[in-house]
Homo-oligomer: 198 residues x 2
């Protein structure tokens, strides 16, 4: 098993979310989907915006690199007109339950943000992302604002910090951290070769 820690506003988490299940299957590995928020972690580092906005050279590189990455993975890509988008509500929806619908919902949200240029903070966009996956999208969206759900997301973020997570995507395999979409295969290889130890 590997844990996939993701924040919906994160650009490199988009290709990671799109491919993590398929690649993990090839390694005979199960994926635990772990939504969390980068905002509080960034604020602790003194950032009130994405580092890609704060440091322009890094930002320019990221947009170009992400475009190349998506092209090589054949993942659709459209430069979002707003960045970063507020992923709070989407992350809460992802915390409602660890249901069978979760992975596809996550992929739909990332696709909305980075391939369809839709505002993932908009409840209607999220209802669209749940459409066809659950019986009643509106019930899930209402449950997203339950105190229990909010607290689950806060706990996830606290656990991410405790694990040493500082960016998204992060993969955790047998207590080892692997940061970045391009480290997915390495995380899975680690999980595979160290699985017998645990």
């Amino acid at each position: 098993m590997i844990e996939f820690w993701f924040e919906f506003a994160s650009t490199y988490s988009y290709p990671a979310a799109m491919r993590v299940d398929d690649v993990a299957r090839r390694y005979g590995c199960r994926v635990a989907w772990r939504p969390f928020l980068l905002g509080p972690i960034f604020r602790d580092q003194g950032w009130n915006d994405s580092p890609f906005n704060i440091y322009p050279a890094k930002g320019r590189y990221m947009w170009r690199d992400l475009e190349r990455t998506c092209a090589s993975l054949r993942v659709p890509w459209k430069h979002p007109s707003q960045f970063p988008r507020n992923g709070l509500l989407a992350a809460r929806v992802a915390c409602v339950e660890d249901g069978a619908w979760l992975p596809q919902f996550v992929r739909n949200v990332y696709t909305a943000n980075f391939a369809k240029d839709l505002d993932i903070a908009d409840p209607d966009v999220l209802i669209g992302c749940l459409d066809g996956l659950v019986k009643d999208p509106k019930t899930i969206l209402t449950a997203a604002s339950d105190e229990k759900t909010k607290s689950r997301l806060r706990q996830n973020t606290e656990r991410a910090v405790a694990l040493g997570v500082f960016g998204s995507p992060t993969f955790v395999a047998e207590n080892e951290l692997f940061w970045g979409n391009d480290r997915l295969e390495q995380a899975l290889a680690w999980a595979q070769s160290h699985a017998s130890e645990s």
Copy 2:
């Protein structure tokens, strides 16, 4: 041809420097070695220290990840007792001339810093790194302080900024930037597939 932009204080540049020539050869590609300084670039971003020191979670991850990377590449590794080390003099030595000795000198300096825990700001350490590569290491070290050499390093750093470089190692292949040791193969593949266009 790919350009290999490196700063001697940079941790991930160590495995990159050790393998860049070998890997490039497999792609039928020549490497242009480009020493520059990250200090002025970091200062422009408001940092007066390595981001790995400023952001502890990022730093902890980097040390562990670098250890894993060196182990998997079978590159010797010893956690340096000082970080970052001042690579100014070493970078000036690397700017004296684009001689046949340069790649091995660069590998020796990185090995001194990250496998032997030696202070690469010490002229005697650098003389050791030149030993056996040039006829008279002391002459090279004296030339490192020439105004012409200093100016060459400043120009390199300015060119790095102009290219959009914000970290080390950075590979430049046909005007495309690839940042990080783990992007070397991608940079070479890019150089290979776009070489006919230029």
